[in-house]
Amino acid sequence: MNENMLMTIENLNVSYGDFQALYDVSMQFPKGAIVSIIGANGAGKSTLLNAVLGINKPHSGKVTFQGQDITGKRTSTIVSKGVSLSPEGSSVFEDMTVYENLVVGAFLPSARKKKKERMEYVYKLFPALKEKASQRATFLSGGQRQMLAIARALMSDPKLLICDEISLGLAPVVVGDIYNSILEVNEKMGLTIVLVEQEVKRSLDYSDISYVLVKGSVVMGGPSDELDEAAVKDAYFGINQFA
């Protein structure tokens, strides 16, 4: 196993009953890189994330994190090893304050010790959250929810941060701000980041490596600057898929 790889996915197959959602998906996530996974609705992005995080169980294939097999383990176990997912913005804890959301983000014993400094860090990264610290999350705007989801994921002091569909339903300006914050986290802390996105151009611009997922299979993959945007878009829309 390559020492530079933080996580690898090998030949992952996932089915829901008779319907196969992922076909032999293989991906590599080098340490310190930003990797984007691009795909349209229904391409299998959420299925892939859920399989990586043990929310659904793959029927074959393997997910390795830091040399350890984490395939199909309990979600909380996988998270405790250093994988953190920022889910789509709606799944912040609505009835808890922004502060409490962050405290729960640092639930892992390894994260509790660093809670104070991590909280200062995420408040600096997203000052809007500091202003709203004592408000319940249900009163946040869409962009602020997304920030909170990312900040909460960062509180666990992860080695890998996976961001699911940051741009979904947000104004482009807000998305740009959040992306820049993520870039900062990657540069300053060396955190490995996975961006799961529908938007082709932004994903290619911000990432080092990209994978394109179409109908449950990886159809393209490689360094983002070598991938041609037009070709990715063609693949994305299913053009030339059978050529």
Partner: protein, 290 residues
């Protein structure tokens, strides 16, 4: 007029006991969306445990109560870990049926050993009145019930709202998948929650055992009281349980004052219906599940 004041005061005192009966049901519902049909039976089970241990260990009710709490926590681990956690992911209904089965098993075990005999725990406060005037009589037992119930509910509220453990419980209640993503093992959290609920129910079992007495089947009656309390106060709200207990207690005794003691239970539940129409989520229904 004297009787009215007395009814009001007695209602508040009775409400304290009602709150202690309901709080465990509310906690379990708020955290895992489970209506625990076995709640009343488990509460009565703890009354029986206390009675058994009082006899077995030389009459100290405090020692018997302490052993019972430990035992009920063990029951919580078994009940949640081996039964309810297996089905709760399939939705609330299968888990509800499991608790219904557990309720029936508990009645039958108790009936096997104790028949239909009526028991009462010894109560050193019996016959003592803290206040005894023309306006009102406050029995020490009733005041003790209200005091203990207040302490338990405030402590539980503090734990749920202010500690990391409580926040993890609320996170699991709000969104199971997101809680797991924080590294919280939600199955284990459910076990802790059930244990906490059964420990508080043991307090209810002690107070009920000393105040009303109990027999093998009396769990169902206490389940219905608990339902009333929890629905009025708001499913899942701990402080709401307290309010719900007081309102149900006062409604019953004032109902008895105005319309005669024969209909006081009816008046209590009519009040519940009215409140439910005006505010279906209960008075303080806030720990809502998604």
């Amino acid at each position: 007029m004297e009787l009215f004041v007395q009814s009001l005061v007695s209602g508040i005192l009775l409400g304290g006991l009602y709150a202690a009966i309901g709080v465990g049901l509310s906690l379990v519902f708020g955290i895992m969306g489970l209506t625990n049909i076995a709640h009343g039976s488990l509460l009565i089970l703890s009354s029986f445990f206390i009675m058994i241990f009082v006899q077995a260990f030389g009459g100290s009710i405090i020692l018997a109560f302490a052993i019972t709490i430990v035992l009920m926590i063990a029951v919580g681990v078994l009940l949640q870990g081996f039964l309810i956690n297996r089905v709760i992911s399939k939705g609330a209904e299968p888990a509800l049926l499991v608790t219904f089965g557990v309720a029936i098993i508990i009645w039958n075990i108790l009936e096997f050993f104790f028949g239909a005999n009526f028991f009462r725990l010894s109560n050193p406060l019996t016959g003592i009145n803290v206040v005894s005037t023309r306006w009102m009589i406050i029995p020490a037992t009733a005041l003790f019930n209200l005091g203990i119930s207040t302490v338990v509910i405030l402590a539980l509220h503090f734990v749920i709202q202010k500690t990391l453990f409580g926040r993890a419980i609320r996170a699991a209640a709000g969104n199971v998948n997101a809680a797991e993503l924080m590294g919280i093992n939600t199955s284990r959290t459910y076990i802790y929650a059930m244990c906490l609920a059964l420990a508080t129910s043991s307090v209810g079992g002690l107070l009920v055992g000393q105040t009303f007495g109990f027999f093998s089947f009396s769990g169902m009656g206490y389940l219905i009281i608990a339902f009333g309390v929890v629905v009025i106060g708001g499913m899942g709200s701990i402080l709401g349980t307290f309010l719900g207990g007081i309102i149900l207690g006062v409604a019953q005794l004032l109902g008895g004052y105005f319309f005669g003691p024969g209909v006081q239970t009816l008046v209590g539940y009519l009040t519940l219906l009215v409140l439910l129409t005006l505010r279906p989520q209960g008075l303080l229904g806030n720990m809502t599940r998604k």
